[in-house]
Structures are given as structure tokens and as C-alpha cells.
Amino acid sequence: MTTKSEIKQKEIKQLTYQDFVPENEVKWCPGCGDYSILAQVQRVLPELGIEKEKFVCVSGIGCSSRFPYYMNTYGFHGIHGRAAAIATGLKVSRPELSIWVATGDGDMMSIGGNHFIHACRKNIDLNILLFNNRIYGLTKGQYSPTSRKGMVTKTSPYGVVDHPFKPIALAIGSGATFVARTIDREPKHMQEMIKKAGAHKGLSFVEIYQNCVIFNDGEFNHLTDKNTRDDNLLVLEHKKPMLFGKEKDKGIKLVDFKPIVIDLNKKENSIDDVLIHDETDEIPMRAMMLACMAEDSNLPTPIGVFRRVYKSTYDGDVHLQLQEVNKKYGKGDLQKLLTSGNTWEIK
């Protein structure tokens, strides 16, 4: 697929990684997963064929939300939870900008939840990168809405009692048109996801599992450790069967709306039993199933694109309506507007 931006790319000065590295010192903890996300974004943006000055990074508050300071683009470091709303105002008023929202599981899933679901619903053409470390990093280690039940943190000394969000399910339930997941330790995969998010017209939501070395170290070890990775990670590919395992010999089969793992080495199972992935289902049944698969259900954790469908964007529709109204009524004449309604003259 040649996207419009790929065509346009040729006309524009070829940007490089270095163009996106600012002078500012990066101040995350050594070893933090955020570094990888920053690097992949800096690698992918030059390839999108967009002028550098058109990029804007917007964020809320959190370790992750320091992101804009580390990108040599226009940037807005907002207040806690409001990144999506700030970005919405910017995008709706300036649709030609390419807006990247960097946010955390506290910033976007807790205090910012309302703006998130409404941005998804309206399908605002933003690219949202969720740095999900399942903890509040910047405030030093309280649990977040994505922390696992039972996790001991500063505010859950006896274990978290909340059920966590499944951010992908929430995005789907809110109507998001592009939903994906990747991991800080999978740079190539992450680049692919970021590239696809950038190419998608409409809201793109990428959940990135990110290790916080200080307050929640090892949270995703089972997905990143060489020995366990392949048995736990289901890498989704469009129109391909859902296979995983070192030898790709395990698959997902659906039995009465319940996904189970089958071993393809066993005779009774065949590759034809394995569910095929399709990012473009109009009704997100498969995507919802994948969103609900997780460590705790004895099922592998999917990464990749869960959903990618076309729906008109809010920002696009707003400007379409502006054009239509302009066409129908002509460009407004202020003097006429002021003089409208019943008027009378006093001499």
C-alpha cells in the first residue's frame, strides 16, 4: 500500500533521526523503557514524508509525558490527563499538523480517561502512544488503572483490589479505528506499529508495554525474556493464522466464542482450525477477543494491530462542514451579520 504521505515524501527534504534529537538532556532513569520508545519515534518520523515543522508532540504529566522535551519538534507539555483534549483543539483548528500524543497509564487511563474515550469516539486524527508501565512513575510508585490485581505498591501495601483496564478493549469500546500494541523491547515491531499509526487517517492508539526499572521492574519479563517470549507472545499479522511458539506450532482456536490454545503437533489439530486475524473487521468481535487475552487467562498476549478500519475523522468532517456552509451561504460578511434581524434607523 502506498500511502499518500509516502508519495508526498519525495518532494520533501529527507529528514533523518538526528533532525528529531534536541539539545535537551534526556532525564529518564538509566534503563527506563521510555528511551526505546523515544528512539523508535525518532527513527520513524523522518520516514513519514511530513515536513519537520508540522510535527507536534503533546503530552500530559508523568515520566512518559516529558517526551515532548526530548523531541526536536513543536511540543506542548500539558497538565495531567489533558493531553488528548489539548491535542484535539490543536488538530481541529490546524488539521494539517501531525500530532503525536505521548502519555502514560496514569495520565491517559486514569485522570485522562474521559478525553481518551471521546477522542476515540470522534475519531480525531491523532497518534496516541500509551507508555504503559502499569505504575505511576513520576509520583514514585502508586498503582495505576492498569496495575494487576494484587500488585503491592506504595498505595496498595496489601495488594491492589481494583480490576485493571484492558486499554485495548477500552479503545475498541470507545470506537477507536486503529488500535495496536507493542513492547519497548521489540524495537523493530514498535517501529512498524508507529509507522502504521502514522499512516492511519483517524485516531491511532498504540499501547506500548514499557518497563519502569525503578517502581515496577520486570513487569513484562515474561514477554521480553528470551526463554519465555515465544510462548507468551502472539504476534498478529493481518489475514494470517494466529500462531505462536518458538516453532509457530501453537495456535488460537475459537470454540463457542472462547479462544483456546491448540498444539499443532498433535494430530487432532490442523492449521485450518486456527483463527485467522483480520484487522479490518467492521464489527470488532475478533479484536475484542484479542483485547481480552492476557497473561492471566492462560492465553498468549497479542501484539500487533488489533483493529484498523476506516471511519471519517471529526477534524475532517468539521472542515468539510465549514466548506459546505461556506459554499451554501458564501463567505460571511460581518457587517451583514451585525445588521441581521430586525433593524431600524434613527436619524
Binding site: Y69, G75, F76, I79, A85, G89, G332, N342, W344, E345
Partner: protein, 616 residues
């Protein structure tokens, strides 16, 4: 039967009836007609917060008051000369506001057992002498409407719904006003429902003719056109004027307008008006909540739009944190607060001026903003433009306070010539070798740069910024410096705002100082007090933070200062802290504008004390 026509200077009329009786519409039609025929007018709608409160009860009464005059007026009047009451509840609720000898035109048909009971009357007030202080004129409005529409083909329900036009026609007759503007309006409005259109016109005329033919009235009245400044006029409500002010500011600054807002009474109309103006380059964003309303506007301001957010008290409370972000990022942003009765949800459809302290002081940290207010419906137009002018010139958030009373009320507005209005200068920085996002110009404003401008990439946000460079800075001395600098910047707006004008004597015993929507009531009170020989001056504030630079001087010229407010003394508090004087307060928090006769009595009281003191 021709009746004597008596000339009056000014009349206050109130239409009152059930929420479903169309009283707001009737009042608005009457107002438009009198304005069109050249009177000065001021209106005051007053309706319950339920959409259709229970029919016939006092809680369901909806009212529309209007004052029209051959003199310049600025308030809808305290006390009512003529009440048109469509049911017993309307009489019950409004009786307390009537002048002695006021005329009450009642729809006699509505005074049945059921309605009397719903209104809480034990006896029919038309039949005992409880209304003897007034001239009660019972008119069988429903019956007469039905008669008029016998052959109209409308359903009985539809027929009864026309009865407000009967009352309106009758009032037009009584005040010698023309039916033509209303007929034209009906023709446009019901273009696609010819039966309804015809029926209403018929009933309107029936009401008019009834006046002519009945013996119930012995005289009719006429108000001469007011001697307003020459020009083309229209009627505007405060909310409409605010919306027009936004569009005008956008044009004058040649910068697209972005409104991020969440509906809330009584501010929603501004969003509604602006939603229509899509061919004026206006983008309206109905946000999911007030916080998204303001933060989307901040995003748009960062993007180079003329950004505004509109709300009322509880919404302003929710925007508090984000206003701080605009202070720190020094982006231009106008926040319009149409005040209503508080605290909390309070009295959502009633007016009040009690968000002043919140506007001036209600933020975490040292977060100074400019605070302006409008003092009448048409003033909303000019103060809105002023708010934008200051916001972009000083790169600062500006709060503009209006209130439910001026927002819903209306008055004639002399339509300005757009070309005569001063331009608002907006200059985006487009290049710069040595570009620093927190470098300042002579106004202490930092540069406004649009994302998309090559080479000026920069990052701003809510953490403290280093002077000039705009990097995140935790440096102690820088923070102290920046806090003081931001305060200085806002204070320096003073040099750019007009001196406060004093009406009448420039010094003396008593100055009545007001702000915002109390202007009309104070003006009348002072005028009347002066007519009976009292020496009292008036001054009215449109700029609260900073105050006009001559305010201290003005205050020092008067022995006593009276501050009437629709709150418990919020301006008085600020004045005390700024000028260390103790003004006399007059505070009524009733969800209603102040009554000028009450202010007048207060003036009287103060001045006679003053005289007594002097004699001792």
C-alpha cells in the same frame, strides 16, 4: 370606539404565564416591536429551571419583563406598570412586583377551580377584594381565541396554543404599536405551516380589535420614540452580543476563532450562536466537559487561533487548573463566564454576580489573569472585543464576566460600522535567528509562534520556565523572578485601559461604585436620587484586574462609597484590600438584578445620616 391616547414616558410591562404559554416569545415580540418603533428598551426574562414545570403551579410560571421608554434607559425596571397574567399562578407569583394602581390584564378563562387550586388560591382573587390595589381587567382570552379560530381547521390544542398572540395583539393596541413587524415575523417563522401562520395572525388582530371595541379600557397609551444617537439599530441580548463580539474580534485580528465549550445555562447560547457562524471562519467544538472545553482552546491558541471558552460558575470552577496552564504558557485565551446563582448548582437559571473573587483569586499558585466585565447587553459586544485585544497584546488569559441578567436581557444596539472599529494587531513570529520562546517585548509579552513555522520549533508547558529561554527551570531565583514578572505583566495592562469616568460631580459626599450588570439599576437609582435633590455621583467598572489607574484617586474624592452588588460584597472586598477604605455595601443575593428603588433608598439613608452627622 376611539379612546383617548395618553402619552407616557416609560412603561414596565411583564408577561407571565405557564412555561408552556409562550411568554418568552410573546415578550420578545413585544420588545422587538417597541424597539423597532424607536423606543429604548431593556428586557428581563425569568423562567424556571425545569423545562416544563407542572402546568398551573407557581413553580411553573415563566415571566418576561420589559421596560420601554422615550428616554435612554438601562434597566428593565424594578416595578411593573402592567402585568399580563395568563393564569392564577402568574398573578400569585408576580403580585409583589407591581406598582400601586398597576394594570393587571388577566385571562379570565384560566381562573377555574383547578387552576386556582394549583396556584394555591383558596378564593378567586378576581372575585374578592384582594387585588383592589390594582386595576384588574379580566379578558376571556381563551374563549375569544377559540371564537376567532372556530373555522381555522386547527385542533383544539393548536387553537389554545395561539392565545398568547391574542394577549400580544391587545397589548399592541393598548400601547399604540403596530402589528406589522409581528405579522412579518409570523410569516417567516411559519412559512411552511400556513394554517398556523394564518391562525396566529388572525388571533393577533383579534386581540388588537378587542381593545378597540371593548369598554374595559378607558384610555390607551403612547410612548414617543427615544432620542437615541443616530444610526442603525437592532435589538441584542448579551449572549448574542458576546457571540457577535467574538466573530468581530476574529475579523479585526484576521485570526480564525476557535471556541471550545460545554453547554451550561445561561452561557449555552453563545456556543449556539457561534455554531451558526461557520462561514465566518469560526470553529466551535462542543467538548465532553468544561476541562476539555478550555484545554482544547489552549491547544488551539498554541496553534495560532483566537481561542475562547465560554461557561458559567460551576464550569469556571472546573476550568481553574487549566487557566493556570494558560498563565504559565502565556498564551492568549479568553474565558467568558456568564455568572448565575451559586454556590454549587445553586439557582441555575437565575442571575448573580458572585464569581468575581473566583475570577480574580481562584487558582493555585500565583496565577494572575486579567479580569473584565460587561455592564449591559450591548456592552458585551465591546468588552468581548476588548478581552481579545488584551489577550493577544499581552499574551495572557483574560476572564470576561457577564451575568444571566445581561446575557438574557436585551436592549437596542447601535450597529457599528465594521471598518470603523480599531484593528486588533496579531503578529505571529515567522522567523528569527535568535529565537527564544520566553523573550519579551515592551508589553512583556512573549512571541506567538505557530506550529508549522520552519525553524522555530520549541516546547512549552506547565512547569516553570526559565526567563527568555523558556526551558524547564527549577531554579529558585528564576521562579521568584518569573512569578513577579507575570504579576507585573498583568498589572501593566493598566496603562492600556481607560480611566474610570465619574458621572456628575467629580467629588463629594457619595459615590456609588458598581461593576458589571448592576449598571442600569444603579444609573436609575442615582438619577432618581438626583432628581429629588441628592448630590450623588456614579462610577462603573469594566476593568477589575487591573483596576483603572485613576480609581484610587476617584475614591479619595468622595466621603462615602456605596457598592451595591448581587453577591455578599465581592468587589467591596477587593476595593478594601486595594485602597484600604471601607465602602458601604448593599448586597442582595436573590437571583435577580438589583432594584433601583432599593439602591435609591440606600442612597437616601446614607445621605441623610451624613447630614445628621454633620449637624451633630
Amino acid at each position: 370606539m376611539a379612546k383617548e391616547i395618553k402619552k407616557l414616558e416609560s412603561v414596565t410591562v411583564r408577561f407571565a404565564g405557564d412555561s408552556g404559554d409562550g411568554m418568552q416569545l410573546t415578550g420578545a415580540r413585544f420588545g422587538d416591536t417597541t424597539a423597532l418603533s424607536g423606543k429604548d428598551i431593556a428586557t428581563l426574562p425569568d423562567y424556571p429551571s425545569e423545562i416544563r414545570a407542572p402546568a398551573g403551579t407557581t413553580s411553573g410560571v415563566s415571566g418576561f419583563q420589559l421596560n420601554f421608554s422615550s428616554q435612554a434607559i438601562d434597566s428593565p425596571g424594578d416595578q411593573v406598570d402592567v402585568l399580563v397574567a395568563m393564569n392564577p399562578a402568574a398573578v400569585k407569583v408576580n403580585i409583589k412586583d407591581l406598582k400601586k394602581n398597576a394594570i393587571i390584564i388577566v385571562n379570565q378563562d384560566a381562573f377555574d377551580v383547578k387552576n386556582l387550586k394549583l396556584a394555591g388560591y383558596e378564593k378567586n382573587p378576581l372575585e374578592d377584594d384582594s387585588l383592589s390595589a390594582f386595576k384588574v381587567i379580566p379578558v376571556p382570552v381563551t374563549t375569544l381565541t377559540k371564537n376567532a379560530l372556530e373555522d381555522s381547521g386547527l385542533s383544539p390544542k393548536e387553537i389554545v396554543r395561539c392565545k398568547n398572540f391574542f394577549a400580544l395583539g391587545l397589548m399592541f393596541w393598548l400601547y399604540s404599536e403596530s402589528l406589522i413587524p409581528t405579522i412579518k415575523w409570523l410569516e417567516e417563522k411559519f412559512e411552511k405551516q400556513p394554517e398556523i401562520k394564518e391562525a396566529n395572525i388572525k388571533v393577533l388582530k383579534a386581540g388588537y380589535n378587542f381593545g378597540d371595541n371593548t369598554r374595559l379600557f378607558t384610555e390607551r397609551y403612547k410612548i414617543e420614540p427615544a432620542k437615541l444617537e443616530p444610526g442603525v439599530y437592532r435589538n441584542v441580548s448579551g449572549n448574542e452580543a458576546t457571540a457577535l463580539g467574538c466573530v468581530t474580534a476574529s475579523l479585526l485580528s484576521n485570526t480564525p476563532l476557535f471556541l471550545g465549550s460545554y453547554p451550561i445555562t445561561p452561557a449555552s447560547e453563545i456556543l449556539q450562536y457561534l455554531s451558526k457562524y461557520k462561514n465566518y471562519g469560526v470553529i466551535t467544538f462542543q467538548a465532553e466537559d468544561e476541562i476539555a472545553g478550555i484545554t482544547s482552546a489552549i491547544g488551539a491558541a498554541f496553534g495560532g487561533s483566537l481561542a475562547v471558552t465560554t461557561t458559567s460558575g460551576p464550569g469556571l470552577a472546573l476550568k481553574t487548573e487549566a487557566i493556570g496552564l494558560a498563565v504559565m504558557t502565556e498564551l492568549p485565551l479568553v474565558i467568558i463566564d456568564v455568572q448565575r446563582g451559586g454556590p454549587s448548582t445553586g439557582l441555575p437559571t437565575k442571575t448573580e454576580d458572585s464569581d468575581l473573587l473566583q475570577a480574580v483569586y481562584g487558582r493555585n499558585g500565583e496565577a494572575p489573569v486579567v479580569v473584565l466585565c460587561a455592564s449591559s447587553p450591548k456592552d458585551c459586544f465591546y468588552m468581548t472585543i476588548e478581552a481579545f485585544r488584551i489577550a493577544v497584546k499581552y499574551m495572557t488569559p483574560v476572564i470576561l464576566l457577564t451575568d444571566g441578567y445581561i446575557a438574557n436581557g436585551s436592549e437596542p444596539f447601535k450597529i457599528p460600522n465594521v471598518d470603523d472599529l480599531p484593528k486588533i494587531e496579531v503578529k505571529f513570529l515567522e522567523e528569527g535567528r535568535e529565537f527564544y520562546p520566553y523573550m519579551r517585548n515592551a508589553n512583556l509579552a512573549r512571541p506567538w509562534v505557530k506550529p508549522g513555522t520552519p525553524g522555530l520549533e520549541h516546547r512549552i508547558g506547565g512547569l516553570e520556565k526559565s526567563h527568555i529561554f523558556g526551558n524547564v527551570s527549577y531554579d529558585s531565583e528564576n521562579h521568584d523572578f518569573m512569578c513577579k514578572l507575570r504579576a507585573e505583566k498583568v498589572a501593566s495592562v493598566q496603562k492600556d485601559i481607560p480611566d474610570l469616568e465619574v458621572l456628575y460631580e467629580q467629588e463629594g459626599k457619595l459615590l456609588v461604585l458598581g461593576w458589571g450588570g448592576t449598571y442600569g439599576a444603579i444609573y436609575h437609582a442615582v438619577e432618581k436620587a438626583r432628581k429629588v435633590g441628592m448630590k450623588v455621583s456614579q462610577a462603573h467598572l469594566n476593568f477589575i484586574n487591573p483596576f483603572p489607574s485613576n480609581l484610587g484617586n476617584v475614591l479619595s474624592k468622595f466621603k462615602k462609597i456605596l457598592i451595591p452588588e448581587v453577591n455578599l460584597g465581592q468587589l467591596a472586598r477587593i476595593i478594601r484590600s486595594e485602597y484600604l477604605i471601607k465602602p458601604i455595601q448593599f448586597n442582595k443575593v436573590r437571583g435577580l438584578p438589583l432594584k433601583s428603588f432599593e439602591i435609591q433608598s440606600k442612597i437616601l439613608e446614607i445621605l441623610s445620616e451624613e447630614n445628621n452627622d454633620n449637624q451633630k
